[in-house]
């Protein structure tokens, strides 16, 4: 364990023993002596993230009726929340309903992808390149988002 820093250990815990092996079998040698404790910790953390995943999915799904819900998506910075709020607001100025729907679909799609990636980023190994981390975050995030 001497070669692992704290963030890496936390990432490994969050993956859980099975997830860890699936993710990178070569890490088996790093498994601690107390697998039961690790599993308990892993399941606590996983359920906490899963529960935030459910919360944020509900917020996302409420956006079409309540655009202010964007300000409760804390996975985004305040400026990103403001920008999405403005973009959603501006769609109201589009006269053609087809154009409006197309724009809304584009914005909602972007928001959803960013939410999923933010949720999954917690699990993405910090030793990966930024590009790889973002790719893998999307895959991990889908689990917490409930798909």
């Amino acid at each position: 364990m001497a070669n692992l820093d704290l963030s890496r250990i936390l990432n490994l815990c969050k993956l859980g023993t099975d997830g860890l092996m699936e993710y990178n079998p070569s890490l088996e040698k790093y498994l601690p002596q107390e697998p039961k404790k690790l599993r308990r910790l892993s399941s606590d953390l996983a359920s906490r993230i899963r529960s935030r995943g459910e919360e944020v999915r509900e917020l996302y799904e409420s956006l079409s009726n309540n655009p202010d819900a964007i300000f409760n998506i804390y996975e985004f910075s305040e400026i990103l929340q403001e920008k999405y709020s403005l973009r959603l607001e501006r769609t109201k100025n589009l006269k053609d309903p087809a154009d409006q729907n197309e724009k809304l679909a584009e914005i909602f799609g972007e928001i959803r992808t960013n939410i999923i990636q933010s949720l999954g980023l917690v699990d993405a190994d910090t030793n990966l390149s930024h590009e790889e981390r973002l790719d893998i975050a999307l895959q991990f995030g889908l689990r917490y988002y409930g798909i």
């Binding site: 996975e75 985004f76 910075s77 305040e78 400026i79 990103l80 403001e82 709020s85 403005l86 607001e89 960013n114 990636q117 933010s118 980023l121 917690v122 930024h130 590009e131 981390r133 973002l134 975050a137």
Partner: protein
């Protein structure tokens, strides 16, 4: 402690070498940090100097705008430049913060 205009100035100037200063402001989410660093890395790899300069100009411009919003909203002493902001709607408020903050940032960068 509330950030100062110099904190934002250093964050902006720091973009040219690393992102530590902007990260220390605590205004970016983890995802946005990843994306910003990735964009900076991609720009650094650009072989065409003109394309690199253009991409850098656009990215820095965007970051400057974002910093402007936070400066206008959070930096002490910006109140005078933002008289009347209380009665504005969200969109007008966003514009007012950004415009005033951007101007303040430009001033200290000169």
């Amino acid at each position: 402690m509330a950030p100062t205009i110099d904190d934002f100035k250093n964050a902006y100037l720091g973009l040219k070498t690393d992102t530590t200063a902007i990260e220390s402001l605590g205004i970016l989410s983890d995802l946005e940090k990843e994306k910003l660093v990735l964009q900076l890395e991609r720009i650094a790899k650009e072989k065409d100097p003109q394309a690199e300069a253009k991409a850098r100009y656009e990215l820095y411009g965007q970051v400057k705008q974002d910093l402007g919003f936070y400066i206008g909203r959070d930096v002490k002493g910006m109140g005078a430049a933002l008289a009347g902001v209380t009665g504005m709607d969200r969109s007008a408020k966003f514009q007012a913060y950004t415009t005033a903050g951007l101007k303040a940032l430009e001033d200290v960068l000169q």
